[in-house]
Symmetry: C2
Subunit: 161 residues, 2 copies
C-alpha cells in the first residue's frame, strides 16, 4: 500500500522539557513533571466528559525526529534492537504515545502531569485511559527484562536528535 495518511494536529503540548537530553524516558519515570495541552478552538467541543478520567492517552507527533532507523540503540540498552521492540522516537511513522495524569481542564487547556514529552509537540489525539481496557498482565517483556532496574534513573540523551 503506497497511500499516505494525513493527520492534522488538534493542539500543542507545552512542557518544561525543552530538549530531549536529560528528559525522563517514559511518563512513569517523570512523575514530578507538569505541563499543559492547548487544544485548538475548533476541537474544544470534543473535550466534553473528559474531566472525570484520572489518566489520558496522548498520541502525538515526534516533531524533532527527522529520520528513522530500523535498528536503534534504545536509552535502556547499548545494543542494536529492532525499532519496533523499542519506544525510541526514530520510527518509520513518528508517532508517540504517553499515558499522563489529567489534573484539570480550563477552557481549552488541559493541565497534565507525569510527562516525558518535549515542549511544542503537536498533539494528534486524546483517548481516555481505562484500566479495564488497557492494563495487561504481561508474562514476557523481551530484552527490557534485564534492563528494567535502570528504568527510573535512565534519562534521554542526544542519540535521536
Amino acid at each position: 500500500m503506497s497511500t499516505q495518511e494525513y493527520y492534522k494536529p488538534i493542539g500543542i503540548i507545552h512542557t518544561p522539557i525543552k530538549v530531549p537530553n536529560g528528559a525522563p524516558i517514559q511518563p512513569s519515570a517523570g512523575t514530578k513533571i507538569k505541563g499543559s495541552v492547548e487544544i485548538f478552538p475548533e476541537y474544544i467541543k470534543g473535550l466534553k466528559d473528559l474531566l472525570g478520567f484520572s489518566h489520558i492517552i496522548l498520541i502525538y507527533h515526534f516533531h524533532q525526529n527527522k529520520t528513522y532507523s530500523l535498528l536503534v540503540k534504545p536509552f535502556l540498552d547499548n545494543q542494536l534492537r529492532g525499532v519496533f521492540s523499542t519506544r525510541a522516537p526514530s520510527r518509520p511513522n513518528s508517532i508517540g504515545l504517553s499515558i499522563v495524569r489529567l489534573q484539570r481542564i480550563k477552557d481549552n487547556i488541559l493541565y497534565i502531569q507525569d510527562l516525558d514529552i518535549i515542549d511544542g509537540t503537536p498533539l494528534l489525539d486524546i483517548k481516555p485511559f481505562i484500566d479495564y481496557f488497557d492494563n495487561r498482565k504481561t508474562n514476557q517483556i523481551g530484552w527490557i527484562k534485564d534492563r528494567i532496574s535502570n528504568f527510573s534513573k535512565t534519562k534521554s540523551d542526544k542519540r535521536f536528535c
Copy 2:
C-alpha cells in the same frame, strides 16, 4: 498550526472481523479472536527482538472512518459524549490503538490474538507493551464507570460506518 503529518502504512492487519457490526469493542473483550499482521518487506529489519514480548501495542488507521464528530454516542452509552472521552473511531485524526497478544513471528507475519480490529486495517506503528511503563492504577474513569458492567457483552454496531 496548519501543518499536516504524513504517515505511510508499514503493514496490513488481517483479521476475521470483516465489518464493524458485531465486533468486540476492545481487545480485552475479544480474547478468542486471532489474526495476523503482515509487515511490508522494507520494514522487516525493525522486527528484530520483538519476539519475546507477550503483548504489543498496534497503532493503526481507522480506514473505514470517513468523517468525524466531536460529539458521539459511544457503544457503551446512549448519550452524546465528547469524542476525546471515548474510544470511538470517528475522531478528527482516525488513529486507533489496540494492545494485543503476540503469539509468534514467521518472516514478515506476526500472529496475534485478542483482536477488535477490522480486516484490512493499515498499520502505522508497533510498540512493545511494557507493564512497568504502561499499566496504571486509575482512580477515575469518568462516564465509563457506570457502564463498565456492560463492557464484555457490548458489540460494535453500524453507528460509525
